[in-house]
Chain length 247, copies 2
DNA sequence: CGCTGTGTTGACAGGTCTCAATATAAGTGG
DNA sequence: CCACTTATATTGAGACCTGTCAACACAGCG
């Protein structure tokens, strides 16, 4: 299995050997935690960022009426907690969904990396813009959309990201998310998530169970969601086109 | 009046004289456009970013059923179109609200700036993380929130940003936004925006007209919105603390 | 074995959208 | 300056969607 922790950094331009070793030279402590554990709570002081290496983590901000809003579902390779580096109190609560492993990177080490390795810093900049596009798409999928559109968009979003992680990904999503979590991510109650999933099922768009949702009609889901698939492009304008046929 | 175009770059660490001149050395053509003009449309090729110097610009992504979703309301000093640098087709439509002036920065020049001036690149990285926090807050304000919460959050968001631009900002928001635009930003119909604004007015939370909304009870609005005010912190962990009292 | 978390279904209330009509304001051309 | 057109704001009635409350089935786990 390829090293998933470099996956995102390689997305817009391949790291060279020097950059890889530079990245691995960052001091980072590894943690493995169980299901439903808090990595960092909203309001906690911000003195590090995290790199998820195994498992799933959700990132939530406290919304009104005690209902929390999931703003990001993290997969292996994702940097976590990065938005809060501009704050003294963390904006998001990071919580494990199932067993997961992550690395903690001290803010000082992270800062040194950005300033002393500008080409890595530039990749982090691009990844952050990518996250912005994803958040923009999620707002569009939630803003004025009905429950079926919201869920269709979320499922496709997860599917597209799993495909980037594993090219052999099938349309069957093995996800550890409950209907409560799907509700917190879409701004719906878990009850209505249930009803809507069954409606999508009746319409032949999906099949299977919540933990193994099969996307039966991906074009239909995409049309329903109203969100097109994003084509991330390599950043030749930044790093220059690869001289030879390098990936 | 201070140069608003450097406002955002100075937010996390003051630029030194060398960095300022470096920034001004970027080739950029200036444009002034009228009300309701498209700067760049969703789907257009991405070969530049923009810097807004005067006026207001909205950034929309096409949502379902022809209803568009506003994902960002740009104020002077904002970089525009940056999320799309990771795409070949622009994700957002940039449209002027009233007369406005902006600069066009070619992607190649932008890339050179990032790689050759890492300390400016680092500031862009921080600004992008800041935009992520803002988008996360907007998702939280829209996801599972009622109309009054959505509008309260949007008004406070605009107020907080106007305060950063002008420390003399009063609680009276002189904004060029119509109720249709407020609806597109909150995921509500303009009709319901109208009803909700009048309800907020009846509750004594706001007063005045749509173009000059007075926030009469800011703590009350903040409590209603459920979104706390963000305290952006200077990035001493990145640039080091200022040696002397350099503001 | 009981317990907790999760999924499922029904009835009802409340919020928001839609359609429709009108008033007001803003801009345009004579 | 006025008449005209357009954009924006406002209000009402009804339909639809989603939330709330309640109850129950089921699985995993101590």
């Amino acid at each position: 299995m390829a090293d998933l922790s470099l996956h995102r950094l390689n997305e817009f331009a391949e790291l060279d050997a020097d950059e890889i070793s530079r990245f691995h030279a960052i001091p980072s402590e590894e943690f493995t935690i169980a299901h439903n554990r808090i990595i960092r709570r909203e309001g906690d002081p911000v003195d590090c960022v995290y790199l998820l290496t195994r498992g799933w983590v959700i990132s939530c901000v406290g919304a009104a009426r005690g209902r929390r809003q999931i703003v990001k579902i993290h997969l292996p390779g994702d940097m976590m907690g990065a938005p809060s580096v501009v704050l003294s109190e963390a904006a998001e609560t990071l919580e494990s969904v199932g067993v997961c492993t992550y690395r903690r990177i001290d803010l000082a080490d992270f800062g040194r990396l950005i300033l002393e390795a500008p080409r890595i810093g530039a990749r982090l900049f691009l990844s952050t813009q990518q996250e912005r596009v994803i958040l923009m798409d999620r707002i569009a999928a939630i803003g004025a959309a009905s429950a079926d559109r919201r869920l269709a968009a979320l499922l496709l979003h997860l599917y597209d990201r799993l495909c980037l992680l594993d090219p052999a990904q099938t349309p069957v999503l093995h996800i550890p998310l409950t209907q409560v979590i799907l509700g917190e991510a879409t701004g719906l109650t878990s009850i209505h998530v249930n009803r809507t999933l069954r409606k999508l099922q009746a319409d032949g768009l999906i099949a299977g169970t919540t933990r193994a949702i099969e996307l039966r009609d991906i074009p239909g889901l995409r049309k329903l969601s109203g969100i097109q698939k994003r084509q991330w492009r390599r950043a030749d304008w930044l790093f220059g086109a690869p001289a030879d046929g390098t990936a």
